[in-house]
């Protein structure tokens, strides 16, 4: 995916993902509570863990798609710029 250098666009994308992450986090907690509410086993079942795990994986995929457009950096600066200093 092409790297974006427009600061305003990067900030927008960053904010979009942060909102998605917070919504995802609320969904994860809600699903985890709903899945285990009436469960009294010593270990969770595979389907209980998988249901929550799928949401985490989905969040990681979305993050990868969004943040792969950011310039890879070291100490907060784009790597190419750092190397040339």
């Amino acid at each position: 995916m092409a790297i974006i250098y427009d600061q305003k666009r990067l900030q927008q994308l960053d904010e979009i993902f942060k909102i998605i992450f917070i919504i995802g986090l609320i969904v994860i907690f809600t699903v985890a509570i709903a899945e285990t509410q009436n469960y009294s086993g010593f270990s969770p079942t595979a389907s209980q863990v998988a249901t929550v795990g799928y949401i985490v994986v989905l969040l990681l995929v979305i993050a990868a798609v969004i943040y792969s457009q950011f310039p890879p950096s070291v100490l907060g600066r784009p790597i190419k710029g750092e190397e040339s200093q």
Binding site: V49, V52, L60, A63, V74, G76, I79
Partner: protein, 263 residues
Amino acid sequence: MIGATHPAGKEYLIPWSGLTPLDLFIISLVYAGVLFTIAYFLPRYKGGQHSCIRITLKGCEISDFERAKRLDTAKYLTYGGLPYDDNSIAKKLNEYWAVESNVTRFYMLSIGGIIGLTVVAEMFMHQIFGESTTYSWMAGHLFLPDFKYSQIVFKGIGWEPFSDIGTLLGAFFAAIFLTRRFTAFRKNIPPSWQKRFGDNEAIRALGSFGGTALMMFGARMADGCASGHILSGLLQMSLSGWEFLIMVVIGMLVTARIVYGER
């Protein structure tokens, strides 16, 4: 003597039975004193003069060598991550707080306190403070559901798979919101690796995945990983935790020599 029984059916060895809570409390104070003494004399970096605690207690300045090592650590941690501003929390976290030596700062004490309380809470809830058993649990469910070892893992794992998801989410949150170290699964090859093995992606991938596979194999052979044996085990004054720690340190020294060479 075999004493406590785990809800999953396992029994645990209690070497000093008959001790009162006061005896155990005094032993734990001596134990903590020994650990702090080790931490006081252990330098943070090879060739460094000070440990984190010594710098904090004596208030002495770190040397240029140690300052350079701190920068090197910060560069390694942020390599391939996201950009951040000079006034951001990420700059403070990556370049000052996470690599500095002052262990009395609020966030350092908070991290230690939270980990300590989590381990104690898990002990009271008869849960395991570990991470790696989930991989056996997952592999067992996916590929070997009838395997005898899988059955043992299914029975005794407790809520560790959910705590692993929590660990992943916590790291994910920190990498996006705080440290900006999220690398978006890009094929980054850190400079330290490039200096030693070049920029061949296949060799880097082999090193990463091979190293992880070996680490996981070792953790399963030892019936636990660094969380279960070192963090949790040492906190419980477990002898097996010390055995594990010594072997991990030997493994780390050998691996560091192979990966970084003589420097």
